[in-house]
């Protein structure tokens, strides 16, 4: 399963890269864009189109698997730099996803309730 999606990813990425290669290197192809230059200046690792396409495909798959609307995922990725896509691709599961405050309140409440019931604390006053 994992291997299968890896292969799919590789094929997808390579086909994107091949399409890019197919178009002759005119116009934009030879310009080094500012985001690429900034990434190079910040000593970011890999700047090749092939890797960028692989990263993009990887992040797209991951987001769809995590419930992001497939119809929207492409436009979400379109506003990201290659460096950001690389970060997501390599560390997706370790990156913080802000949003769990209600879950936190829930956990704290349950723990306090348990402590109360066990008799360790006495904060829920019964007057």
């Amino acid at each position: 399963m994992g291997e299968c999606s890896l292969r799919r990813m590789a094929v997808l990425g390579l086909s994107v890269a091949l399409i890019n290669m197919g178009t002759p290197a005119i116009g934009h192809a030879a310009i080094i864009t500012t985001p690429t230059y900034v990434a190079a200046a910040q000593r970011d690792a890999d700047l090749t189109n092939v890797t960028a396409a692989l990263n993009r495909a990887d992040v797209r798959d991951r987001m769809v698997a995590l419930g992001v609307d497939p119809a929207r995922v492409e436009s979400r990725l379109s506003t990201m730099t290659d460096a950001e896509l690389r970060e997501l691709s390599t560390q997706f599961d370790q990156l913080p996803a802000g949003g769990d405050i209600l879950a936190l309140i829930g956990v704290v409440f349950i723990v306090l309730l348990i402590l109360e019931l066990v008799g360790v604390i006495d904060i829920f006053k019964k007057t």
């Binding site: 290197a25 005119i26 116009g27 934009h28 192809a29 030879a30 310009i31 080094i32 864009t33 500012t34 985001p35 690429t36 230059y37 900034v38 190079a40 200046a41 910040q42 890999d46 700047l47 090749t48 987001m63 698997a65 995590l66 419930g67 992001v68 609307d69 929207r72 979400r76 379109s78 506003t79 990201m80 730099t81 290659d82 950001e84 970060e87 997501l88 990156l95 913080p96 996803a97 802000g98 949003g99 769990d100 405050i101 209600l102 879950a103 936190l104 956990v107 704290v108 723990v111 348990i114």
Partner: protein, 330 residues
Amino acid sequence: MRIAVRLTTVAAAIALAALQGCASRGPTIESRLDGAARRHVELDSTPFFPQSEYQCGPAALATVLGASGVEVTPDDLAAKVYIPERHGSLQAEMIAATRGYDRLAVVLDGGLDAVLREIAAGNPVLVLQNLGVAAVPFWHYAVVVGFDVDRDSLILRSGADKRKHLSAGRFNYGWSLAHNWAVVVVGPDSIPATASAERYVAAAAGLEAAKRDDAALIAYRTAHERWPADSTALLGIGNISYAEGHLADAEAAYREVLTLAEHNAAARNNLAQVLLERGDPEGALTEILRARSDLADARLTAMLAATESEIRRALATPGPETSDERASNK
């Protein structure tokens, strides 16, 4: 298994409770405050969106975008930054989403000092906090909208609270667990009070990556005006001019970069490309060869090589004028 999970949670919560006691460490607001700043600042006009479940990312983002003049609701933003199975939003997506509104999300350096200076300058600050502990994190986005020196507290739009007072110590603790991540969102014609040239131009380059050319150009020009010696802003001006087909403007900008930084191989590569397209393949070849000998960063090698081979192809295959000449020679 379940019991183990529960035990971990209980342990975490106890640790959390313990931390409340020792959280009042770290710098006080007074110690981090610019002498001239007021003792109490609160940006009352900052919008407030009480968050629905898990949606503190979209809510916080709508808050800072609103403060920068973009009217957008958390629901609109949820479709751009929320990841259902993670019950939250990633920092990279929070930053990227601002680009669609022609805004720059500038990452702040400099800790609490920078946050206070931005507030004093009128910019609410988007922050990531870890409300749990390092091992059991609860990530949360909020927006700092004020500070109060006498109470040593910060004022935040946070979750369902419009004006949450958080002591500096407690704020510092949760914020430092999130690596002091703080962002100010501005339009492309303004610069956050504490932004460095590098951070600001990187944010502008984000607009370029998102194909928001008009906003990117304004931002590069704003940066160039503030930091005339910053060659990356000029490179950006050249690149947007090129993308929009203004080759003469692009050439001028690249040449200006090279007067500031003559070994900038990226600018010289792009200059070569523009010269080629303006019908000067010989000039282009001179520049690309110079760029290749200047190149300090091996990762750009492939791109420079591609430009060179394109120029050599152009020199080998006669262009329209040259073929005319040949025809007349016959």
